[in-house]
């Protein structure tokens, strides 16, 4: 059917959306809404009682604890160090700064399987860091829960740095100067004047990193031993369920993760709105 024909057929007063709109909605419909709808429909067919039972089996609960707990640890670590890195990038000048800047983006660019392989190699008991850690403290990193956390730290580092950096750069120096002039120490100035303005950005970065770390599969699956109740993450459990042809359980646990993603997207958006309002007040 040609567009010309369509145009002739349209009822008066109703105009067809432009071509870009048509492409956008068709594409979104086929690529996103159709698979999304299929999963929600499948999940709805399970029924609320069955859904709750399958979503809260001891096995599933254990993976939630690993995924959501370790991701929280990882994103909080990055909340602190991400701020330090952003501060170093914006507020100081030192040799190798541009290399540091470029390295921050490596976790975005590096395929997760490569990241997983690299981290496993470094943190296994005969790796560069794994060996000294194991000999000195008896800590086993790779193929145990700490390894999962390390992988999550790796993939979620850029988020905090890249959200805090622009805000820190746009801060007006005058406020800090005023604070110094009024007799505040550099520490007081940082804690009372600078950090409150950065807070929405830091939390936003942490939330984005957390959301990414919870859903991460490629790098974690390689460094984890994937033992249930120990270091098995939720995405790996979904894949195991699929391999056992337990489609219902996979659907239910997948839906739990999907609901979490939607919720985290909402939180991230609210944090962004908060950050913008905050900056608006300052201006």
């Amino acid at each position: 059917m040609t567009p010309a024909l369509l145009r002739r057929w349209r009822p008066p007063g109703l105009s067809l959306p432009s071509w870009p709109w048509r492409i956008t909605w068709t594409y979104l419909g086929l690529i996103l809404f159709l698979p999304l709808g299929a999963m929600l429909l499948k999940a709805a067919r399970v029924g609320p009682v069955g859904f709750w039972e399958m979503a809260t089996t001891p096995e599933a609960l254990a993976t939630y604890r690993v995924s959501f707990g370790l991701a929280l640890v990882a994103s909080l670590i990055n909340g602190v160090f991400g701020l330090v890195v952003a501060w170093a990038l914006v507020r100081s000048r030192f040799p190798g700064q541009r290399v540091l800047d470029a390295l921050i983006d490596l976790p975005f660019a590096l395929p997760t399987a490569v990241a997983g392989l690299a981290l496993t190699a470094v943190y296994s008991t005969n790796g560069w860091l794994g060996q000294p850690l194991n000999e000195a403290f008896g800590i086993k990193v790779a193929f145990a829960a700490p390894g999962v956390a390390v992988a999550m730290v790796f993939i979620s580092l850029p988020f905090v740095v890249r959200t805090v950096e622009p805000v820190l750069r746009s801060l007006e120096k005058e406020q800090e100067e005023a604070s110094w002039c009024l007799g505040a120490s550099p520490l007081q100035t940082t804690v009372r004047v600078v950090l409150p303005q950065l807070l929405p950005a830091i939390l936003g970065g942490v939330a984005q990193g957390y959301s990414r770390a919870v859903g991460e599969y490629g790098s974690v699956v390689m460094i984890s031993s994937n033992v249930p109740f120990k270091d098995l993450i939720t995405p790996t459990l979904i894949i195991q369920k699929l391999e056992e042809y337990d489609f219902q359980a996979a659907t239910v646990i997948g839906s739990v993760m999907l609901i979490f993603s939607l919720f985290s997207l909402l939180v991230i958006n609210l944090l962004q709105v908060w950050g913008q309002r905050y900056q608006g007040d300052q201006a």
């Binding site: 690529i31 490569v114 560069w128 730290v153 120096k173």
Partner: protein, 301 residues
């Protein structure tokens, strides 16, 4: 404690704490912060990255190149390149269409639509794969019957891999182009239209050139992610060696089967692509920055 009261002439003083601590000796935070930052990034990012390079070339360049000639690796590479070659152009078209449709209009639900486009970033790749299985799997999928009656194979075959790659990478392009178009405004397009240009001419000769660097930036991000996608592809591909195994899947498979050298060889190829994309990205970023400055200047003046 001395309080320095600035006079009007010194209303823009150099940061006072710097001055004060220089008098005392070393400015501790100024040294510690970059040091901690470098150490942290060094341990978390640089060391693992270096370990891949070292392990890949552990036995020299010869064995490395020999590993690259492995037929399984080559077939995995071919599939990865194929999936990327299909997924990226699709997403470029969608990204540009979505950007021109959304960026310059204000309508109810615009923020929601932008969030919807961002969804693949926050959904776990494994869940993306699962969604495709629940839609197209011959026995358990919603459209399984339709797919089978048409004689298609989507899950455990290349169309599934391509679809998974498309879903995971489609937001990049739109996300990079939309903010730029929002900033630039309508004037040039309107001028072109008044002069009698068709929609297509306006897009091709006015809109596209004005966003070319942002589009290129989006293209680089899309390609890098498409080449490296793991989770979503792992669910739908079935991971059949030599048939539906992409290069990232090959890395994991080889490592789990104790073919460590092969795994690191393949990882080195993917890592090399990642580094090239990173360098290209930095280059485009600089051009974008200059472009923005250039376009701002006349407005400021």
């Amino acid at each position: 404690m001395t309080i320095v009261v600035p006079t009007l002439e010194t209303s823009r003083p150099t940061p006072l704490p710097g001055k004060r601590s220089r008098r005392r000796g070393l400015d501790l935070p100024a040294i510690l912060i970059p040091l901690i930052a470098c150490l942290y990034v060094g341990v978390v990012i640089l060391l693992p990255a270096l370990s891949v390079v070292v392990s890949a070339f552990a036995k020299g360049v010869g064995p490395f190149l020999e590993n690259l000639g492995s037929p399984e690796l080559l077939s995995a590479l071919r599939l990865t390149l194929f999936a990327t070659a299909v997924a990226v152009p699709c997403n470029v078209i969608f990204g540009l269409a979505a950007a021109t449709a959304i960026a310059r209009r204000e309508f109810r639900g615009k923020a929601l639509l932008l969030s919807v486009i961002d969804l693949p970033f926050s959904i776990s790749p494994v869940v993306v794969g699962l969604m495709l299985v629940l839609l197209y799997s011959p026995n358990h999928g919603l459209l399984g019957g339709v797919v089978e009656s048409l004689g298609w194979r989507i899950i455990f075959s290349w169309p599934g891999i391509v679809l998974a790659t498309i879903i995971v990478t489609f937001p990049f392009m739109a996300r990079e182009v939309i903010p730029l178009l929002e900033e630039e405004g309508w004037e040039q397009e309107e001028a072109a239209r008044t002069l009698g240009a068709t929609d297509w001419q306006v897009f091709w000769k006015v809109t596209l050139p004005s966003v070319r660097w942002a589009a290129l930036y989006g293209l680089i991000l899309t390609t890098a992610r498409a080449l490296g996608e793991f989770g979503a592809v792992a669910v739908v591909s079935g991971n059949i060696e030599g048939q539906t195994q992409t290069l990232p899947l090959f890395v994991e498979d080889a490592y789990k089967n104790y073919q460590t050298e092969l795994a690191f060889g393949a990882a080195m190829v993917l890592g090399g692509v990642a580094i090239v994309s990173l360098l290209l990205k930095i280059l485009v970023e600089q051009v974008l920055e200059q472009d923005k400055k250039a376009s701002r200047l006349p407005q400021d003046g």
